[in-house]
Symmetry: C2
Subunit: 243 residues, 2 copies
């Protein structure tokens, strides 16, 4: 009964190995001691060792091969990720203000109908907003949802909810997937005016489609972001920071 050790044995093992990997003592490709060796070294049972190794494996530090051993993994540097939510578009600190332009229920034009996979003239809800920070407008937001009778949209939701949430609540269908496409474009006349920029200036066009579990599009959104005010930042996940 050791009072000084609040950390579980498997966790201690994982942190030890993690440190040895991060320090460079154990390099990618190196084999790590076998489970039985680690068990005797640490004076713990093999299942506990496996628990610890499972942590490291989950976090991407090691990979194991049956019959061969457990090896230090090379960090994956081509898998990039980012958080896409208008609240964190510019970083954690910078807040975006939302100003509602229009909310309309109208017939879907052909292009929108294709995106949402609905009949060509069925009714849709269209929301248009301007997002700004203290230095002025940053992005133009255009959201489209299928119109659902008896499913009112709350003004608060319309103005402040993240798109996936909005879609989920509106359709009452659990949305399951979010696809984003980022393209370069230049500002058109109306866009430039609303963004207080100039025609022909570069901008990012970020399209977002929310899908249901059975792959039906539940919502489509297009954001036009001023190129001089916004950059999308992604980082690789070499190893999970947390074990």
């Amino acid at each position: 009964m050791e009072l000084r050790s609040f950390i579980p044995a498997y966790y201690r093992l994982a942190e030890d190995l993690k440190t040895r990997i991060e320090s460079g003592e154990l390099k990618p490709g190196d084999i790590i001691p076998s489970e039985t060796q680690l068990a005797t070294q640490y004076g713990i049972s093999r299942m506990t060792v496996r628990n610890g190794l499972s942590l490291l494996s989950k976090a991407g530090y090691i990979t194991s091969f049956q019959g061969k051993g457990c090896f230090v993994a090379a960090p994956q540097m081509d898998r990039m990720y980012f958080y896409f939510s208008e609240h964190t578009l510019l970083g954690e600190n910078k807040k975006l203000e939302s100003r509602l332009l229009t909310v309309d229920v109208l017939a879907a034009d052909p292009k929108t109908a294709v995106k949402l996979q609905v009949p060509a003239d069925s009714r849709i809800v269209q929301i248009r907003r301007v997002l700004s920070d203290v230095d002025g407008p940053v992005a133009l937001d255009h959201r489209v949802l299928p119109y659902i009778k008896g499913a009112p949209l709350l003004e608060k939701e319309i103005e402040y909810a993240a798109f996936p949430e909005l879609v989920s609540r509106h359709t009452e269908l659990a949305s399951a997937r979010n696809n984003i496409s980022v393209q370069a474009c230049v500002l058109m006349k109306e866009e430039a005016k609303l963004l207080k920029s100039k025609v022909g200036f570069p901008a990012l066009c970020i399209e977002q489609i929310i899908y249901s579990r059975d792959d039906r599009p539940l919502g489509w959104s297009k954001m036009i972001c001023r190129g001089d005010r916004f950059a999308l930042k992604a980082v690789s996940e070499p190893y999970s920071e947390r074990l």
Copy 2:
């Protein structure tokens, strides 16, 4: 000894629950049967149940709380990821051809020196390429590495290696992190010429910095991608497909 069941018990349990979650029978927020219940239901030991649940937890389907139970998790739709490698820029099928423009060893200009955190006039290696598919040029690539005496770059590597790999091999330091920034820009004169496009046309500027474990920049790259030929696509990771 059952010959018909090649799949392990824990895996069968995990797939069962996964199916029940994906079908909507178990909704986000719902509690799943306790470990002891599952153990008796499936006629397996509790540790085996835990093994199965750990899979589901790893894949993002469930979250467990000590003393409370195990609950179906809501898919995270704001965490987006994509693979960034010039070989898969346009999708799995489309191959990009690389044409080398220049390889130079020269003194770092102030801007580059800042990016690489090296002295202002220290020597750097600069590589410039054009990437094309069958329909013509797609992107312009500009890579910068610190010059290291006695570390020759192989021509094959220069032309075909992914940037993180190139950096790793060149510096002989395990690179650990990759940061990417995506911005909108318009084509300048020389860029337009090389990409067979026109000045002022929209383009994506993708900057990449590879860091070592101790957060020193090991390489910097800038890609200019024709806006009409390229879109960056990212998807959310609601649940891992594979268990």
